[in-house]
């Protein structure tokens, strides 16, 4: 019996692999500029900031924008204040992570549900959009009445703020499956669950991780907003920000600001790494 083979006729993929490894060599050289360029931007920003604070502002009003050096001296290097801020940050992070985890489960679940039938999608979608457009500040007092002014309400705020991108990205990802692949699964007479598990979810995974990336930042913002309103329990960094604002303690305020954005950034970085791993696994790597 003849084998269905024409090895000579097919181009061996080896040559292609060589080309790719050369390209990745170029890619490893590039990161230097990717580090240097943003660092330069940051230094320029610090310089302009210092100049404005020192030479533009009236000395009486300098407390509104202290120099970067003074922020470091009075904000970051003050150990008491820093400990207070770090524990606040930990509490905020805890709330944000809990909120994000719940939002991922709810959002992906809702996205899957909506992808199952048009009527389900139609009956949920307007409210998902509404969720996105409700001013969260107006909802916060209501949540307080209903769920108390503690951890629980803070988590709920995070969920509300970060849910929408997860729903839409999941739905978009599930619907991005090529029609040829759907035909294939129809031909194999796959059940709806098999289609979901073996085709739609794997195809949607990159989009879902992108949703997580967006929502991670939103969850941190949600957590800080919630800190402002729900003052029972461990104080989060948002509550400290409010206190510093009242005291006109601009240095501490700015330190808290930097710390909060670091929290958002590190969450983003985690999902960025995850996203790269998923993309590589997903294999739609730019082959041509």
């Amino acid at each position: 019996m003849r084998a269905l083979s024409t090895k000579s006729a097919d181009a061996a993929p080896g040559s292609r692999r060589v080309a790719r490894s050369q390209r990745s060599l170029v890619a490893t050289r590039r990161p230097l500029s990717r580090v240097v360029a943003p660092t330069l931007t940051f230094l320029a920003f610090l310089l302009v900031w210092s100049l404005v604070s020192r030479f533009v502002l009236d000395p009486d009003r300098r407390f509104l924008l202290p120099t970067p050096l003074s922020v470091v001296r009075n904000g970051i290097l003050q150990s008491d204040g820093l400990v207070e801020m770090l524990s606040g940050l930990a509490s905020t992070a805890e709330v944000a992570l809990a909120g994000l985890a719940i939002a991922i489960v709810l959002g992906v679940g809702t996205g899957i549900l909506m992808s199952q039938a048009r009527w389900i999608e139609y009956s949920i979608y307007p409210y998902a959009i509404a969720l996105q457009t409700i001013p969260i500040l107006a909802v916060v007092p209501l949540l307080g009445y209903w769920f108390g002014f503690d951890f629980q309400s803070r988590v709920i705020v995070c969920v509300l703020v970060s849910l929408f991108p997860l729903i839409t990205n999941t739905l978009y990802g599930l619907k991005s499956v090529e029609s040829g692949h759907h035909d294939l699964f129809t031909l194999m007479r796959a059940s709806r669950l098999q289609r979901l598990l073996h085709l739609e979810l794997p195809a949607a995974l990159p989009a879902i991780v992108t949703g997580c990336k967006i929502s991670a930042g939103l969850a941190v913002i949600g957590s800080i907003v919630a800190d402002f309103f729900f003052r029972q329990g461990e104080p989060g960094i948002g509550r400290l920000i409010d206190i510093y604002r009242q005291r006109l303690a601009t240095e501490q305020l700015m330190t808290a600001l930097v710390l909060s954005s670091l929290l958002g950034l590190s969450l983003f970085a985690v999902f960025e790494v995850l996203s790269r791993l998923v993309d590589r696994w997903h294999g739609v790597a730019k082959a041509a």
């Binding site: 019996m1 003849r2 084998a3 269905l4 083979s5 024409t6 090895k7 006729a9 097919d10 181009a11 061996a12 993929p13 292609r16 692999r17 090529e178 040829g180 692949h181 035909d183 294939l184 699964f185 129809t186 031909l187 194999m188 007479r189 796959a190 098999q194 073996h198 085709l199 794997p202 696994w281 997903h282 294999g283 739609v284 790597a285 082959a287």
Partner: protein
């Protein structure tokens, strides 16, 4: 048993003969259906109009039985692919009747339609997995099919790492794991270079010669249609209708030399003229 014969030639015997309860049930369903359709596919007076008003097919009747390899030839828009999609159940006819036992169908798509996140091996295994064949058996069948299409050594490669021809081979291997008896080819070699295409054509002909199946092969190429088939069906475009059917009398096995014979030239000329007439 009809099924056993062909399958065991397609895949090496030990794997083909072992079957799961699910498969036996499938075989039972096949047997029940066989009386109605014998072993082939049939369209009776089938028309299809898409929701946007385009009439794709008009009153098409066509039957393909085991031992027939029918080439569907026609210009773009003559409904060749649509006809195959009807048989596979991807589309429903507006009127008329489609007879096709879907459990016997193997469909080779225009694109390889491999899942990019799966390796060659796990892609080829997929249909058997989905159909509840035991994992160990899936693996064996997949490896046999991969060897059969000459992709041994590439089991762990992702589709993006393969050439177009190799992807199409993987796609054919995947179809073989379901052990079909009716083969629908939707212009599978259209995107390949001539050398690869010719060699895959030769092997398809050999496969058919060694164990005849019921096959429908969509193509744009007059030469390919005559070389492969027992009968060329010419479709006219918009709406798709059967213009003529031209029998191809050459015996199997067919060798590449056939393409240089006077009879072959005469017949391709006849088919080309019919295609030109139909596409006018």
């Amino acid at each position: 048993m009809l099924m056993g014969g062909m399958i065991s030639n397609l895949l090496s015997r030990p794997f083909a003969l072992a079957s799961t309860p699910g498969e036996r049930a499938r075989a039972g369903a096949v047997a029940a259906n066989r009386a109605a359709i014998a072993s082939g596919v049939k369209l009776e007076d089938v028309s299809l109009t898409f929701p946007n008003g385009t009439q794709a097919l008009e009153r098409v009747s066509l039957s393909v039985q085991t031992g027939e390899l029918v080439a569907l030839l026609g210009a773009s828009g003559s409904g060749k692919s649509t006809l195959l999609r009807l048989l596979a159940g991807f589309e429903k006819p507006t009127s008329g009747v489609v007879h096709a036992d879907r459990s016997q169908l193997g469909y080779v798509f225009q694109d390889a339609t491999l899942l990019p996140w799966r390796s060659v091996l796990t892609n080829v295994e997929l249909p058997a997995r989905i159909n509840g064949v035991a994992p160990g058996l899936c693996r064996g069948r997949a490896l046999a099919a991969i060897e059969r299409v000459g992709l041994s050594g590439f089991e762990q490669h992702k589709p993006a790492q393969l050439s177009g021809g190799m992807r199409m081979r993987a796609s054919i291997a995947r179809m073989l794991t379901l052990q079909p008896r009716i083969f629908l080819f939707d212009e599978p070699f259209g995107a390949l270079d001539d050398i690869t295409r010719e060699s895959l054509n030769q092997q398809l002909v050999d496969m058919f010669a060694s164990e005849p199946f019921a096959g429908l092969f969509v193509t744009h190429s007059v030469r390919e249609s005559v070389f492969l088939s027992t009968r060329v069906v010419v479709l006219s475009p918009r709406p798709g209708r059967i213009a003529t059917e031209i029998p191809v009398p050459f015996a199997y096995p067919r060798s590449p030399e056939l393409a240089y014979s006077a009879e072959f030239a005469e017949l391709t000329g006849k088919v080309a003229r019919a295609l030109r007439e139909a596409s006018r």
